[in-house]
């Protein structure tokens, strides 16, 4: 289960008035448990003064390509799914007394194999074990629950800690061998003794055989009893307790598959209205549906679609308008959509056009043909809100990711790379030179590496801690604490 490669371990450095801490034995042990961990602080130059100065906290080297990243509701746990069907959960250390300014770091908490590769015998096709989505359930007791899904099957996992074990059985020895009942003269009650912390993950439910097409989204409802799963053409509603039945609530499959021109690309429940959900399509439209209106929500209640600019029309217009991700804001009043070139903020009360549009990498508009040729135009970027819905973040190419402040024109481009993540290095925000003369430190569009893409990012729900997944690395950044 050791999915991580060994890497160097650095001693923890400090900034300003924090003293240099030697490597304690405890720390050594921690590092050896997660051998691929690099811990250091880097100062980012403050560009967007309001919020966005980030420090790299941890970099994890992973063996397999990360396919999804999600913080849980408290932000204490961070789950990643990878292409090999594994789920790795990181836990934030509690804030230490020695350096109270720093938030706790994230350590590997649990690793388990969620999905295995399967083979569909009817179609003679492999079913990939790649984890497409992870969705945390709100915590109800000491255990943590999450839903993880691959293309076809959703599983509910229970992650629980065990730090005690019973000792003092009457009928068996400590090592497990059975005692001769005749030799028992006295009886005792087994007592719980502390043991080393063990984190166990066990599958509690398996929701299978409900999707003909590839599942792209799962979303837990605010009622904590139901969740939806969306594939390319259908959305199903499940009860968490019932695995052999699901209700189909959206079906856009045409009677004649010849007429298929649109697929569902993402779907999400409203954060607190348990009857409302949205789904986005490959044609750039978002539909909001109310489950109280009808059993089958084929007819939307609201349709969010922006008329395209006729002057920008090209053969690629439809492809780049295809929405790759949709996320409600925490307040439930707005939603954000990501298409290939932009991020749009929509007010749920206004369907005609978004309230804000951020251009993520507009310099790629002139390269669409090449990007179509090398298939990069089909990349599905995700986006996320920060805790107070003031900032949104999304990924780009060349290991760049961008943050946009809502309501203002401020934005920043940052890079997640090992070269830039060195101790004490002042990291400047990056800039891409779209054309004309290239200024110093700028990067030209042609020198961008399109194989290095950041598709998955996540923001801590309460804090300014972000997780950014490049192809093989998981970066955790936090903002500079002054």
């Amino acid at each position: 289960l050791n999915a991580y490669q060994p890497a160097h371990s650095y001693s923890r450095c400090s900034e300003n008035n924090m003293s240099l801490r030697p490597q304690t034995p405890g720390m050594q042990e921690t590092l050896s448990k997660c051998p691929s961990r690099i811990v250091h602080f880097i100062v980012f130059e403050d560009c967007v003064r309001a919020v966005l100065t980030y420090i790299c906290v941890c970099v994890f080297l992973v063996a397999d390509i990360i396919s999804t990243v999600e913080f849980n509701h408290s932000g204490e746990l961070l789950a990643t799914g990878d292409k090999g069907g594994r789920v790795v959960i990181f836990q934030q250390e509690p804030e230490s007394k020695n350096s109270p300014q720093c938030r706790g770091e994230y350590n590997v908490y649990s690793t388990f194999q969620s999905h295995e590769p399967e083979f569909d015998y009817l179609k003679s096709l492999e079913i990939e074990e790649k984890i497409n989505k992870i969705c945390w359930l709100p915590q109800k007791n000491a255990a943590h629950f999450l839903l993880s899904t691959n293309d076809k099957t959703i599983k509910l996992w229970k992650i629980s800690e065990r730090d005690r074990r019973p000792e003092g059985y009457n009928l068996k020895e400590e090592d497990g061998t059975l005692r001769n009942p005749n030799s028992v003269t006295t009886l005792r009650v087994p007592i719980l003794q502390p043991m080393d912390l063990m984190v166990e993950a066990s599958p509690r439910r398996v929701f299978a055989n409900a999707h003909t097409y590839h599942i792209n989204s799962i979303s837990i409802n605010s009622d904590n009893e139901t969740y939806l799963s969306a594939d390319d053409l259908r959305i199903n509603l499940w009860n968490l307790e019932i695995t052999d039945r699901s209700f189909n609530i959206v079906d856009i499959k045409p009677g004649n598959m010849e007429e298929l021109t649109e697929v569902i690309t993402a779907s999400e429940f409203h954060p607190y209205q348990c009857s409302t959900f949205v789904y986005s399509s490959s044609k750039g439209s978002i539909r909001l549906c109310d489950m109280r209106a009808a059993a089958l929500c084929d007819r939307h209640c609201k349709l969010f679609e922006e008329q395209e600019d006729p002057s920008q029309r090209s053969f690629f217009s439809e492809i780049i308008s295809s929405i790759s991700d949709v996320k409600f804001s925490h307040s439930g009043r707005y939603m954000m959509t990501r298409d290939y070139l932009s991020v749009k903020i929509w007010d749920l009360n206004m369907e005609k056009h978004p309230v804000e549009t951020f251009q993520v990498h507009e310099y790629l508009r002139s390269k669409l043909c090449s990007l179509y040729e090398n298939d990069c135009i089909f990349d599905k970027f995700e986006c996320c809100w920060n805790g107070n819905d003031g900032v949104v973040m999304t990924g780009s190419y060349n290991n760049f990711f961008r943050m946009f402040e809502c309501g203002s024109r401020r934005d920043v481009t940052l890079e997640a790379s090992r070269e830039s993540s060195k101790p004490h290095m002042v990291l400047k925000p990056r800039k891409v030179c779209a054309g004309g003369k290239r200024k110093k430190d700028e990067i030209t569009v042609d020198s961008l590496d399109f194989s290095k893409k950041i598709l998955h990012t996540a923001w801590h729900p309460n804090d300014n801690v972000i997780a950014v997944a490049t192809t093989n690395n998981l970066y955790i950044f936090q903002d500079k604490v002054n």
Binding site: D120, L122, K123, S124, L125, E126, I127, E128, D151, T212, Y213, H214, D232, L233, N256, M257, E258, L260, T261, E262, V263, T265, S282, Q312, R313, S314, F315, F316, S317, E318, I319, S322, R365, S366, K367, L368, C369, S370, L371, Y372, E373, N374, D375, C376, F378, D446, F450, S451
Partner: protein, 350 residues
Amino acid sequence: MHLVVVVAVMCFPCSSCVFVTFRLLPLWLAGHRDRSRPAMFSKGTKRKFSDGEDEMPDDGLAGAKVASSAYSLQRQSLLDMSLIKLQLCHMLVEPNLCRSVLIANTVRQIQEEMTHDGSWQVVSDSLGVEGSPSERLVATEVLCRSPSPSSTLSEQELERDTEPRLYSLVSYDDSSCREEEVVAEVIEDDNEALCSEAASNVCLSGTMSHCWEPGELRVQQNNDDICEDSRLGSGDEDVDVEEEDEDEEEEQEMSQKESKTMGQVFGTFEIKNGSSGSESALEELFSDVDASYYDLDTMLTGMQSTPKIGPYDLLDNLGPSHGPTSIGSTANCRSDLNELDHIMEIIVGS
């Protein structure tokens, strides 16, 4: 600067021959690092000559004519690229429905525009093909290909074959002999080797920059009877010619199946529940068919070996063009002539 490729495509059963000439244009569609050609398809409108098409061969001609032909060539190239991407979709282990739909929509969009431009109509008129039903939606035909056996293709093969491929000048002095040899070889060969070869020859669109040119296609027919061409020799023939031919073969095949089979592409994603009874009955019925000829046909028509075929495919394969007795029948060739015309209208640009 031109490169001319002449390919002789010969149909072994009918001994008819068609010469296909490709005129290659200099590279103007390159990978993403090509600086010199920005904004190639950024506008759907006709481009002005001053937009920088000086690499085009028709330097001597004046303004709008060049622009429109350049635009048409661009559009044609995009169409070809999209068709190949759709083909490649079928070769993958798990085709991505969203991607397929987006590419198919792009193809439809190009077709519609070509229809409005009149270039589509001109082509179909000149080739004597009937009006709207046949010209409708290449995407439909293209998409109506049954899935190829993923089990015969390893990921390694796919990766190996997505290297960049260039047009090369190929001579076919002894083409007829070679075709015969090849076809004989084909019949004997293991089907799986054929499948993988087909896949390897078709795999094109990939991650790295590659250079390929659609060029102009001119078809000279030796006979009136044109049958499906045989598989070209392995190894040293032009990759893209094969792709074109495979386009032809597959689209000939698919035009017979029309609407029913659009479902195949998107139907690959469906679990065919409940029809297994009829499927197994049909399969038993044809289990003693001479597999080699059958597979040759299915090979040529882009379909792969039996296990992949769903119920509709079996029904369609009952048709005369597929049975082993039909090889060599002229009726088959005549219908193929119409199909070939139909394919021409797809491939021919302006």
